[in-house]
Symmetry: C3
């Protein structure tokens, strides 16, 4: 697969400035950017008030301006300068309020006095501003003029979707891999412009992949209400979701964090753990019903095999949900490492199968098939070749139809890629059954 750290970073730069929320112009502008970068991209619009599972699609919210001014007219807080300043879904207000009243509507971070937090109040209609502790300390006047010009009314929830069909499906109706990316946050680079960027490049590369046993579906949705809306409208698809991954916070320089699906031992969980252990480092953390849209995919009624890949995990880095999650925090190298991790996952998903030896009684004679060292008895002629020989022997020995390539890699303590290569060689030598389908 081909992309570059720079290409990924440029997407982030393009996406970052847009003011997004769970509905409204910003998320639609972002979806259009993704559409421009890819092909066959569909944008869905679901009307406010539509019932989706236990929820209702909310009214659409758009912001024209939001300021706090001194009574002399001087602007002290302006959403136009930093789009984190406004609590999402703030209702319109145009009033002079006392400092005491104003402070009830302010959010700041006492321990990070220079940072502006990001806050929302989607379902509890109120208004509020986010600002740094230093900015707040300077609000010493007795009264301020608050001017929030937002529109909240019937409209649409918008989300994007791409389906890249299998070229060589193993079943009549190809199973799917589901990638889910939330794109409802405003100017936060890691959370989640990073994942949008990586998803764009994955889509481009998957389209060019010559053989795909599975279909790949990408969702670009507002968090929570977006996945709930998609799930409500696509229940017939869910039985075909064989693997799934929520992508979030994938651009910083931390090591990978894979959060398991609720199932805990789904194939995607085992693949990701193998990559963490053998290649990419990082950590595997157990499922918990908090975080991103895996909460919905992994609700007990659906219980889909959907994990979540992050680098520094949500809530565990200082920049999380603050103005410090900016273009300095995300790096080309971090983005590219995430892209490569996911392409490794795709490789495992496509390559893994349950091999079955065609010569299971005793070892087949590898020598006459050119698969064995010539001189027996010593170590000196093993060297680098011994590694491959053991991988080959393990693959043959466990090719009983009950062990996947991953099972073999784990038992043999070899990288999956080496076992997959050995299985290819054995298949070409006529010793392994081809995968069915």
């Amino acid at each position: 697969m081909e992309t570059s750290p720079e290409i990924l970073y440029r997407h982030v730069e393009n996406i970052f400035p847009v003011f997004r929320s769970i509905t409204g112009r910003g998320i639609r502008q972002t979806l259009e950017y993704i559409s421009d970068q890819t092909t066959d991209f569909q944008i869905h619009h679901v009307a406010s008030g539509t019932r989706v599972l236990d929820w209702t699609v909310p009214d659409e919210w758009n912001v024209n301006s939001a300021t706090i001014r001194r009574t002399n007219g001087e602007i002290v807080i302006d959403w136009a300068r930093c789009n984190l300043h406004l609590v999402h879904y703030s209702i319109p207000i145009h009033a002079r309020v006392s400092r005491t009243e104003l402070e009830k509507h302010l959010h700041w971070l006492p321990d990070q006095p220079d940072l502006i937090p990001y806050r929302t109040s989607y379902y509890n209609h109120d208004w509020g501003f986010c600002l740094s502790a230093r900015q707040r300390a300077q609000l010493t006047d007795e009264e301020y003029d608050v001017d929030i010009r937002t529109e909240l009314g019937p409209g649409h929830l918008s989300y994007g979707e791409v389906l890249i069909p299998a070229t060589h499906p193993l079943n009549e109706k190809a199973d799917e891999v589901l990638f889910s990316v939330h794109c409802c946050h405003p100017s936060l680079a890691n959370d989640n412009a990073s994942s949008i960027a990586i998803a764009i490049e994955l889509i481009r590369n998957l389209r060019n992949m010559p053989c795909r046993h599975l279909s790949y579906r990408f969702l670009f949705i507002p968090g929570t209400i977006g996945s709930i809306t998609w799930l409500a409208r696509n229940r017939h698809i869910l039985q075909h979701v064989r693997h799934g991954l929520v992508m979030s916070c994938l651009g910083d320089d931390g090591s990978p964090t894979y959060k398991q699906s609720r199932q805990g031992n789904a194939a995607i969980d085992r693949y990701a753990a193998h990559l963490v252990e053998t290649r990419w480092g990082g950590r595997v953390v157990p499922f918990e019903p908090y975080g991103y849209d895996e909460r919905q995919y992994c609700s007990p009624g659906f219980n889909l095999p959907v994990g979540c890949l992050m680098r520094s995990p949500n809530g565990q880095f200082a920049q999380y949900h603050t103005s410090a999650d900016n273009l300095d925090f995300v790096t080309p190298a971090g983005l590219y490492a995430s892209f490569c991790f996911i392409t490794d996952l795709v490789m495992m998903i496509e390559k893994d199968f349950l091999p079955r030896s065609l010569f299971p009684y005793g070892e087949p004679q590898l020598g006459r098939r050119g698969l064995y060292k010539a001189i027996g008895g010593g170590d000196e002629d093993a060297g680098g070749a011994k590694f491959d020989q053991m991988t080959l022997l393990w693959t043959l020995n466990l090719a009983d139809g009950g062990h996947s390539l991953l099972d073999i890699a784990i038992r043999a303590d070899k990288p999956f890629a080496a076992v997959a290569a050995a299985a290819d060689a054995l298949t070409q030598a006529g010793l392994l059954a081809q995968r069915s389908g």
Copy 2:
């Protein structure tokens, strides 16, 4: 539940002085004390010679007096002064014996020279005295007069039983919780006046508990032969014993020791382990076929889910089976902590069930039901509430009919009580199915 450390200790003081053995006047006197303290208490009498499983109810044994005297008539050892002096089931004897002969019948503790041991010989008819090593060192005369006035002959084995029926049974024939207390030891305070005291207070409190899904049965029995007799006479009940606990040595200041049932993963085993781990400290030890009446309940043919709760376990404290197991060794605080541990167990037994979400597809919208924080995106508004929120989310997420509240507590790493409270709140909000039955 209500009692007090002092009430528990007073029972021990009342029970301690009585001379008990596996049959005879002392155990009957003890059963009458328990009967006086409770209601609907039944005392059963089983005739000597009755076949019970592989055993036979022994003859009844009573002691009138037992002394060792110098040939000048001076009493040197007197059962009336300390009722541990006589080996249980000693046969009558009235004879002058040489010191050499006498010593064959003496039991003492070389390493604890001031303590008198407790010894029995129920099924091997002999006689003997227990005394301190210091007392024994003073027996320097050539001859002594031994005078044991015991009666051993046909009579009865007596045991007590209380059944507190379920108020809200989940089945037509309510399942039972079995508590078993041995009360065949003479003046040993921890082993087992302590457990008799706690059982009395449990009976009183369980009677007043407004809702009991299960019935509670308490047995006050002589060790080994008592449980064998009860088992032989109550085989039709055993299929209803869902949980059981042998109570022993529950009054000292050591931390709790829970000994698992033979099954090892019975519900009672998991409940007790959870309490040890999350609330009370102490240790869980695996089953072994030695100890108290769990040996009988956990014999392979019955294999009942019966564990054993102790504080300092049998044989592992210096006072065990000696005159130092007295009213100083048992404390009001130790007794009360044991009582509370068991009431926690009862709470878990009554409260646990397999919840099932009524909205399993996606998360139900907690906000409009008043179960979710209002402002999203930050940590500062989580605080103490976040704990509850995670418990709530875990309970919903695992409410698939395949996880008990305890399973959820373990997976979520939360106290059972918190999960039970969350399940109550969710049930009241119409999100969880009520327990059936």
Copy 3:
């Protein structure tokens, strides 16, 4: 069982000097030695060219002489002086070759300059010499005369087999224990004259064992092609192989190494692990598809419960496959310890069964059957007897038809032999069901 360290060592001394390969006069001479030491020993001859599984029985190879000479006729390397000098299956050659050409056919150990390695090239027809690095350094002439007089042509592959039938079979067709010994290596004492010696003494002793529930089959075979040949000709027997052990490198002073079967939890795996843990020390290593003939027995189609016992494992001792694997490296004590380990294994194999208590409801009254201590209540009269008492109680408690004696030994943390003795005592007292069959 009876033998002695000296008897075992004498066999090694007798076997060591013979030049063996996978076919030819040397392996036949060795089989005749074994035949002379035992009874009912069968030697099988399989013609070259016979198809066996995926392989073909190779031509027979014999050596008359092999030398490297200086052009003045001085012998510098002579197979007659050390039979490791010739690469096995070297083709005949009689030619003057340049030093450069000669060196392509030489094998030596740079890190062990005094040792001559052992090398083979069974299926890749070539010629070669093995020599020490010091010998090689002295080959400074420009040309040498190479003279290899070998015969390679149709003949036979020979292997030996003994079946010691069960005296008290548990089934109509007695199950078998398979011992497999490779005997295709030339003068290497540990690998594998040691195992041939031990196998001879096991055969002698098993014949004299009064009660054998199982049959014992010993194979003396050339490595790889021998086991493949035997497997190809005996597929009807394989279903009766209940336990199997490859014996290799059993004479050095290292601690035992048991390599598990592919199944990993076969009875033989558990028996060997118990002996390592409780009696003999050493280590248990997992199966891998490399090593000795277990590779064939444990190929996925057969998947027999065959482990491999060694002391220092193949490839992990400095003397492995070199001239230092000689009569100094193998010791009488090492041989004898291996013999005793295997006789312990045989004892477990013969003794283990699933006991079933005839009195499973409550404990049977052990006292009246003479199986319980007389005085209850103390520790002092337990002592050594307590060990046995706990073993007895565990055996009774777990005698539910679902636990083998080994299961009981592991759960009770007692040696298997103690549990077997307890089971015997309980059977004699009428408390345990005899094993069926």
